[in-house]
């Protein structure tokens, strides 16, 4: 809902809270982000056989450690499993024009993950839509290496 509106009644000042640390991604997510830097998607096979993207260091059901032998390449295209529309993007969002958030199930995966879809308009969005990634020019190992997903060619 609407928030952060300036109030007329009270004095206020900007306070920026930062988290100025660098942290290790660990052995599994490191592979996922290294993969993104190579324009590839890496998932992992869970104990129940499902392929999870992003890969999990620990099984979401059994909590057992999932080793590097569970890693598997998936995608790069996939389908939208659910979505919503962002009519007014903020400066932090991946697009500066209206776009969709979607859970995207990559080909070969069993668990979808969140990313943006540049659909052009809300009427073009639907569950089941096939999408493909648009990569940044110089990937750096970040979820933002994928600019967004767009309708498959």
């Amino acid at each position: 809902m609407a928030e952060n509106e300036e109030t007329e009644q009270s004095l206020h000042a900007t306070h920026v809270l930062e988290y100025p640390f660098r942290r290790s991604l660990g052995p599994i997510l490191e592979k996922f982000f290294t993969g993104l830097a190579e324009r590839r998607f890496i998932g992992s096979r869970a104990d129940d056989g499902r392929v999870l993207v992003p890969p999990a260091e620990f099984d979401p059901v059994t909590a057992a450690r999932l080793g590097e032998d569970r890693l598997i390449e998936v995608g790069p295209a996939g389908i939208v499993t659910t979505w919503t529309w962002v009519g007014k993007p903020t400066a932090k969002h991946p697009l500066d024009r209206p776009f969709a958030w979607a859970l995207i199930l990559l080909d070969g995966a069993d668990a979808p993950f969140l990313h943006a879809v540049d659909a052009g308009g809300e009427s073009a969005m639907r569950t089941g839509l096939r999408v493909q990634p648009r990569w940044v020019e110089v990937p750096q190992g970040s979820i933002r290496d994928v600019c967004w997903f767009e309708k498959e060619d």
């Binding site: 809902m1 928030e3 952060n4 109030t7 009644q9 009270s10 306070h15 809270l17 991604l25 997510l29 996922f32 982000f33 869970a46 499902r50 999870l52 993207v53 992003p54 999990a56 979401p60 059901v61 499993t81 659910t82 979505w83 919503t84 529309w85 962002v86 009519g87 903020t90 932090k92 969002h93 991946p94 958030w101 979607a102 859970l103 199930l105 668990a111 979808p112 993950f113 969140l114 990313h115 943006a116 809300e122 569950t127 970040s142 979820i143 933002r144």
Partner: protein
Amino acid sequence: MRDVAVLSFAQSTAARETERNEVEILMPVVREVIAASGLERSRIEFTCSGSSDFLQGQPFAFVMALDAVGAWPPIRESHVEQDGAWALYEAWVKIQTGEVDSALVYGFGKSAAGNLGDILAMTLDPYCVTPLWPHADSIAALQARAWIESGKGSERSLAEIAARNRAAARSNPHAIVSGTETVDELLSRPYVASPLRAHDCPANGDGASAIVLAAGDLARSVSKRPAWIRGIDHRVDPAALGVRDLTRCRSAELAAQKAGVARDKIDIAEIYAPYSHEEAILREALGVPDTASVNPSGGALCAHVMMSCGLQRIGEVARRILSGEADRGVAHAAHGPALQQNLVCVLEGD
């Protein structure tokens, strides 16, 4: 297990607290809840609070809130970086240990100081999700659409839930919004994050709530009809949205089972559902019968104070048992994206 009861409940909510800081919001609430408990302040042996330093934008901001309870002479005190409902859980455990017989629990949140959308995005997976900065309304909308497309409900069901809560909120002086709109009127309004409209999203506000707990004999000595906690449990689902079935809430199902919701009748349910579809998912997960009064306060849709709203659900059930209006009820609190973590508390009168 020791018998533990809620003796009293107090709350404060406002759309926006522009003048008062957290301590100033809390002080009258704490004073009121202690006065209504029948216990002297000096007889309260433990104090536990729930709040988020991210809302205040200062590390250890919760320590300052102790000014509202008075920490001299020194008191035994603890804090959870969670909703006050989880602070109540800690206090309940503390009483179970036998170390103390009474506790003051409070939760507070003043989200107007920052941008709640951005702050909640920072509670998501820091590598895979937060860098995208999805708004909480958007995350909820992904779950709402999955729920609708599974065939469990429709946008009309969402509007029906919203209309009922808004009508109920008219008799709640602590509600931030209320209304008498028809379902069709609500459905004619624009989306905020499709399929969710403004009335399907929480009326966020600032405020605080507090509860006093006491064990068996102490509770009976000061209250004719304490609201006994007959079961309390909390469970968590994996954080990743993609690894769970968003159309149901397994952690709430498990917590409800462990808390014993189904052991007897339910007169009233207060469900922490800041988004319309969440009420339907949770109602099913908790096993709330159709005969129960659900969210007679108007619920989290009509007044959503971060870190206090879950404790308020417990308080809203407890105060109706204390007054004799209800005999047995279930209160629920939630945290995390798309109902990741859930607490269930069953309360009964004698």
